[in-house]
Amino acid sequence: MLAGLAGEAEPYRQLLHELSGLLRSFYGRRCPPGLDAEDLVQETLIAVHTRRATYDTGQPFTAWAFAIARYKLIDALRRGRSHLRAPSEEADALFVPAGAEAAMAARDLERVMSALPPRTRDLIRDLKIEGLSTREAAEKYGMSESAVKVAVHRGLKSLGSKYGGIGLDED
């Protein structure tokens, strides 16, 4: 390295060549999937070259070079993480349907139910969706239990004949 700082090309070339071997094994063990170890080797060689003025002549060369190698690895991981963050719109698409589907189902249900007479619609909603018992519904609307059962039965039957095989069984 001292020769390199003094501008002697041949010993410097040899140094970089040896260093590239060390770096290859350094990154080979540490490089996470998705990153190219050879890219990191080259980036580190370039950094060693362009920042060679920051090498203190009293310092062990490998400690200095490997500090740069470690920095380059961390830097690449940071950038890798931001690459992963970048296509977040696609990732959002994975999560949106859950809510959207429920919303669409609710809208469909609303539309289907609107075809029924209002009283029948309320009864079906209370019994089948809100989960009231027949007696509770009967009290709520001031009807007899059997009238409630008949209305619900007819309502579901008409829905069944309209939309076919929804599979809402009575009770």
């Binding site: 390199g4 700082l5 003094a6 501008g7 002697e8 090309a9 041949e10 410097y12 070339r13 970089l16 060549h17 590239s20 050879e38 080797v41 080259q42 980036e43 060689l45 370039i46 950094a47 070259h49 920042r51 060679r52 003025a53 920051t54 090498y55 203190d56 002549t57 310092q59 400690a63 200095w64 070079a65 490997f66 500090a67 740069i68 470690r70 920095y71 830097d75």
Partner: protein
């Protein structure tokens, strides 16, 4: 490009490197930043009107010295942290010494003073603006420090950012000391320190700016 070709290319372009590049670069960044800060201080606040008498009092020099020495110690630390495999060593501890010394001076002055003066000693008349002014005057120095550091090769960015901020805070406070006419050690120990710490915090938070390729 193949790695071997890259090595060939790199070793063909090999101008001689003079020693001392790092120290010169940091000095230049801090120097330019300090000039900008001094210009800001003169245009904004101006030197204290009684400067000619103030330079004869020890308190003026204690204030200036506290801030400047803190700045200089941290500048040396920054010079180390701007290089890979930096070892801050004892310097990180030494950089706390000025704070400790001023804290001792301030405590002694506070205890010796009659209680009715305590409030004045602590709060002066500018305590609420002093840290903010130090922060504002320190920022140009911080810019210079960041510019210099990122052109070198820091590998511990957070630590380097903290040193850059602390150094800028110290130099900024030293420049502000020429404008400030407070004359109590407890005031110095609290509000100057707070200003320096504020710039240091910004330096640490700005450490992503130190990333280099």
């Amino acid at each position: 490009m193949k790695t071997d070709e890259l090595i060939q290319t790199l070793s063909r372009d090999l101008p001689k490197v003079e020693p001392g590049v790092v120290a010169r670069r940091v000095t230049m960044g801090l120097g330019l930043g300090s000039l900008a800060s001094a210009a800001l201080m003169l245009a904004w606040l101006g030197p204290r009107p009684d400067l000619a008498q103030a330079v004869l009092t020890p308190m003026f020099w204690i204030k200036l010295g506290y801030a400047a020495i803190t700045g200089i110690i941290l500048a040396v630390l920054l010079t180390r942290l701007a290089k890979p495999a930096a070892k801050p060593g004892a310097l990180a501890g030494i950089s706390l010494a000025p704070f400790a010394i001023v804290a001792v001076i301030a405590t002694m002055g506070f205890i010796k003073a009659p209680p009715e003066l305590h409030r004045d000693l602590l709060m002066g008349h500018t305590s609420m603006i002093c840290p903010w002014r130090i922060l504002a005057i320190g920022l140009p120095v911080l810019l210079g420090a960041v510019w210099a550091t990122r052109s070198l090769a820091p590998t511990r960015l957070r630590f380097a950012g903290l040193a850059a901020g602390g150094c800028a805070g110290g130099i900024g406070a030293a420049i502000y000391a020429i404008a400030c006419n407070e004359a109590s050690a407890p005031f110095l120990a609290i509000w100057y320190t707070l200003g320096i710490v504020a710039v240091a915090t910004i330096g640490a938070l700005a450490s992503p700016l130190l990333r280099w390729r």
